[in-house]
Symmetry: C2
Subunit: 331 residues, 2 copies
Amino acid sequence: MVVKKLSDIGERAAIRRIEGILTKEKNTSGIGDDCATIDLGNEYLLVTTDMISQRTHIPKQMTPYQMGWFLVAINLSDVAAKGGIPLGVVCSFGLPKTTSEVFLTDLTRGADACAVTFGTTIVGGDTKETADITLCGTAFGRVKKTEFMARTGTRLGDIVAVTGTLGKASVGYYALQQKHPAKKLTHGLLEPAPRLREGRLLAQLRCVSSSMDISDGLSSSLYQLQELNGVGFEIKKNTLPLDPGFSVLSTTRTKIDASALALHFGGDYELLVTMSPDMFETAQKTLQKQGCKLTAIGSVTKKRDIILVDGGKKTTLANKGYEHFKKHFFP
Amino acid sequence: MVVKKLSDIGERAAIRRIEGILTKEKNTSGIGDDCATIDLGNEYLLVTTDMISQRTHIPKQMTPYQMGWFLVAINLSDVAAKGGIPLGVVCSFGLPKTTSEVFLTDLTRGADACAVTFGTTIVGGDTKETADITLCGTAFGRVKKTEFMARTGTRLGDIVAVTGTLGKASVGYYALQQKHPAKKLTHGLLEPAPRLREGRLLAQLRCVSSSMDISDGLSSSLYQLQELNGVGFEIKKNTLPLDPGFSVLSTTRTKIDASALALHFGGDYELLVTMSPDMFETAQKTLQKQGCKLTAIGSVTKKRDIILVDGGKKTTLANKGYEHFKKHFFP
């Protein structure tokens, strides 16, 4: 008998196995969206949790402050993707007993700074001894039911759009590799900004038919959205809002394919949304007024595949992404 | 310069350091109670998080099913201590990549079973690769502000009481050591029952002046309550509701001091409450009618110390408890 290991089945299959076991209650959503929702009457309570560990998620160049920031940011990103107003974050720090007190205080400062920067606070937590650094955050928020942005709801003919720029995390990764002096280049990777403002603006406009964050990578997220909604996408390669950081990286030592990294690298905490074409301009302008960016990158199609349009050339988009247990970017 | 390690300062000092750093918001409580509270108008949203790891919390005899149960139970215990109605639990599973799929499904089944047994569900989670098994749960609940049972509020002359029986976790520990055939003896240690029903009944009676769970140990919890409230306690040793499991353990090979274990061992997920003497009988009877147990073990005194009364002998109660980073019960 072959005993299957988690490394054989991968994270998504593991989550499907979990989903098959869990008891569902009427007033809660199942797992499989960025946040769980609990019915509070006119509102949903949003809850999301993310764990990061030294082995898979924490590049060696990441400072303790950045680890704290990162932990909070990735959880708030899930609240942002649902149009939520954050209510608070709890953090559990699993640390080896040889960890210094300064490490703990820097970690806490980073977590606190991220929460406060995005309008919320750390309301509680836990510290425990673990073999490796293992950090777990849980963010919760609230959103009017009428403003909630689910992963499901994509409609034929909708525009596909993303907030911000794409490829920031990969820019950070290569900037570290190249020991680039501009520390700011690494912020997309090490100190990402959750798109809470963008999420709220889109939610208030009630223009979005489906929404998720693209932390797993744009291509991977598109495939998840496609599968959930039974539609297809046509993505125009030349419309991808590539991060300006790409232009600063050295291309002499490393071959850098910005579009491929923007599509597949993952780690960009932007929102991927779909909306009716007649709402797009209003949405874009509303975000722009607040210093936020929204870019149309394609459209929703009937045929259940994802096509990348590159000038006159159409190819099926590769489904690559950051999936845990199977591989890591930071070995 | 001496760099202080977490192993030098211990968990409680670590938490105090964290508390000193975190930004506080008006509509939330600080850390330092069993749950964080978020103001939702007439109610509080309760949030609590607990992490357990192979190295410190998971005895080697604990099955994956029990790990899942335990993780959910210890979080729900914090909701119980505040008088809350649970709304849901999220679980993050940090697992080595060589973990079998069966382990994951058993873990999930245990978590689900505990949640469902106590009237709630697992609404979401995360799975990540870690060096050691590291599990993190977050439970949330709701409670009317008028029914919320804080850690603070102890009044002079109040009765000190506990739910259930004391020493169950230590009974389980010695039952495992003695390889006792009665599996049920280990349940207090490996499959604890959060006192949600007791918590709700006490909350609805509005009889409690302060409340916390005693997972850290009764003596340690009394010292925490004493420090927070600036009072003292007199605890009568012969009133401690010792777990009946003690009588089944062999005392030939191991010297077992049931009262000492009930006071100091920790791991009992019972509630420690204080209340006015004229409310106690009603509270006890109300719980009894629902098959729940409440025992008076002492009273609140003016002098800021904790006295253990053993017949005519009065001694200062030792402040021992399960504190992480510094030591473990399960090396």
